[in-house]
């Protein structure tokens, strides 16, 4: 059992060096693309559309339900501790904006977009398309990765903000139905705790996730072993490592942003 953990951590430790190399390559190519004005604008927009629209439905639905759960949970706890639940909207909204909004959106993006991206690149690799690109002296990273990377980054930020909006609406409706709050009441008491800096914190989290996600997905896509087994493993590793990194990054950002 110890060797399993040892091997696992070793594998994780060997990654950062390669992932760091991947990240620098991305920055270098992005700068070159922007510099030489050959930025693949149309392709990035196509990717943004497919990433954004494709995952919007699932994310809004999930965040909406999560906010319903939050409101119920907090009313349960508030009654237990403070014996009155006037602060429920405030607490649930704050936790949503600071924490669950970005994290749940990111985790959904990791599984839908992360796995999809890793699988797509892995499939192209085992059907020799990546080698074909390199032979035509087209840098696969430049053509495949940079547009998708930017698209995922923008989509993550946009979807997080939109989903929080949806969540607040969801929270307000459940509060009205279950706890007898009027909409007006809910909205003005909502912002007692959360203030503008929380929104900034949320955007920072979303863009951190939005960058880590394509980084890990593309890394596993390019590293895929031959055969259909390689594709499955690439997608799985993208989902697994993507989600772990989201949780870890969330902790780091939360710690830095809020406790300091």
């Amino acid at each position: 059992m110890v060797t399993a953990i040892g091997a696992h951590t070793l594998r994780i430790l060997s990654h950062p060096v390669e992932i760091a190399y991947f990240f620098t390559q991305f920055l270098k190519l992005l700068a070159r693309q922007l510099g030489t004005g050959r930025f693949r604008f149309r392709q990035t927009v196509d990717q943004l559309y497919s990433v954004g629209v494709e995952s919007a439905g699932v994310i809004f639905f999930s965040i909406g339900v999560v906010s319903l759960i939050l409101v119920l949970e907090f009313s349960f706890h508030m009654k237990l501790v403070l014996h009155q639940d006037s602060l429920v909207p405030a607490f649930s909204t704050v936790l949503l904006i600071r924490e669950l909004g970005p994290v749940v959106t990111a985790l959904l993006l990791v599984s839908r977009v992360g796995a999809g991206l890793a699988a797509e690149i892995a499939t192209m690799k085992i059907t020799d398309q990546i080698d074909a690109l390199r032979l035509l002296s087209i840098e696969p990273f430049d053509y495949l990765v940079v547009p998708r990377w930017i698209a995922v980054w923008l989509a993550a930020v946009l979807l997080t903000i939109l989903s929080i909006g949806v969540a607040i609406l969801g929270g307000a409706t459940i509060a009205a139905i279950k706890l007898g709050y009027g909409f007006g009441e809910y909205f003005n008491s909502m912002f007692t705790f959360s203030h503008f800096s929380d929104l900034i914190g949320c955007i920072i989290k979303a863009s951190v996730f939005g960058n880590l996600l394509p980084l890990i997905a593309c890394y596993h896509g390019f590293k895929a072993k031959p055969g259909s087994e390689g594709v499955g493993m690439a997608a799985t590793s993208a989902v697994v490592e993507g989600s772990i990194v989201v949780i870890l990054a969330d902790f780091v950002v939360t710690y830095l942003f809020y406790t300091l």
């Binding site: 085992i126 059907t127 020799d128 398309q129 080698d131 074909a132 390199r134 032979l135 035509l136 002296s137």
Partner: protein
């Protein structure tokens, strides 16, 4: 013109081992492809022929040793030299490597735009001419999955020839095709070699009879070692060697043991 003496593509003491594999796929490979040569590379299924071809094409980094293009090691190449190396190379892949998200015509138009910045009417005429040369006239709008095995091989060939390469590398050009489609592909390959300048060709295959007419001789990769290329006459004259058994396809000989065969 490049001077004749330096081989166009050369491997010196090249070895390759997959990550986590107990022993190297092949090692100590000495091989030189001269300008204008047309050579085959034979070997049992799974001997690593395709991997060696990809190492020569600079797609795989060798575990040890180095590959030289016109005397310059791939490891020490600057970006511009690397681009020139790529332009000089044309390669078809065993699994074709066609861009399955694009149509048949776009598989050619895309590289034309990316590499030479061609677009519009000029690109269309280049695409039409390329499809014409591989008997795919008028198939521009077909999707890749709508094309038969033979048609996909021909499109792969058209793409490999798009930038008039000096060296052509074919990886199992007739793998998985029935004899009739294979013969069409082989005819197409020989037509490419009738052109004015004699392109240098290295053809990997496990079917010796099919590539005999297209190549002057063949190297033999077996048991992690490479027999240097020899003419078909000399190869056939061999007795009691793995190559002799490979060419005759008989049951007696060292290759059978590799298949774990104890009748």
């Amino acid at each position: 013109m490049a001077d004749k003496s330096v081989p166009i593509l050369e491997a010196r003491k090249v070895a390759f081992r997959f990550e986590g594999a107990p022993r190297p796929l092949f090692s100590g490979i000495e091989y030189a492809l001269e300008q204008g040569d047309s050579v085959g590379m034979l070997g049992p299924t799974g001997a690593g022929k395709s991997v060696l071809l990809k190492v020569l094409a600079g797609l795989f980094m060798p575990t040890s040793g180095a590959v030289y293009f016109r005397g310059v090691s791939l490891k020490k190449m600057k970006r511009s030299q690397w681009k020139a190396f790529r332009r000089a190379l044309g390669m078809t892949f065993q699994k074709d490597g066609l861009f399955d998200s694009l149509s048949c015509g776009d598989n050619l138009k895309f590289p034309l735009f990316e590499v030479e910045g061609l677009s519009g009417k000029e690109a269309d005429s280049r695409v039409e001419a390329a499809l014409e040369s591989v008997d795919l006239r008028g198939q521009k709008d077909l999707r890749v999955y709508e094309m038969s095995g033979g048609m996909q091989k021909r499109l792969g060939l058209a793409r490999a020839l798009l930038f008039k390469p000096q060296v052509l590398l074919y990886d199992e050009p007739t793998a998985g095709l029935d004899p009739i489609t294979s013969r069409n592909i082989l005819e197409l390959l020989s037509r490419q070699q009738q052109g004015e300048i004699q392109p240098t060709v290295l053809m990997v295959s496990s079917q010796p009879h099919q590539i005999e007419s297209l190549t002057s001789g063949a190297a033999f990769l077996n048991d992690a070692k490479l027999d240097p290329p020899k003419s078909w006459a000399k190869a056939k004259a061999e007795k009691h060697t793995a190559l002799a058994q490979f060419l005759s396809g008989s049951l007696e000989g060292p290759l059978t043991a590799e298949l774990g065969d104890q009748p």
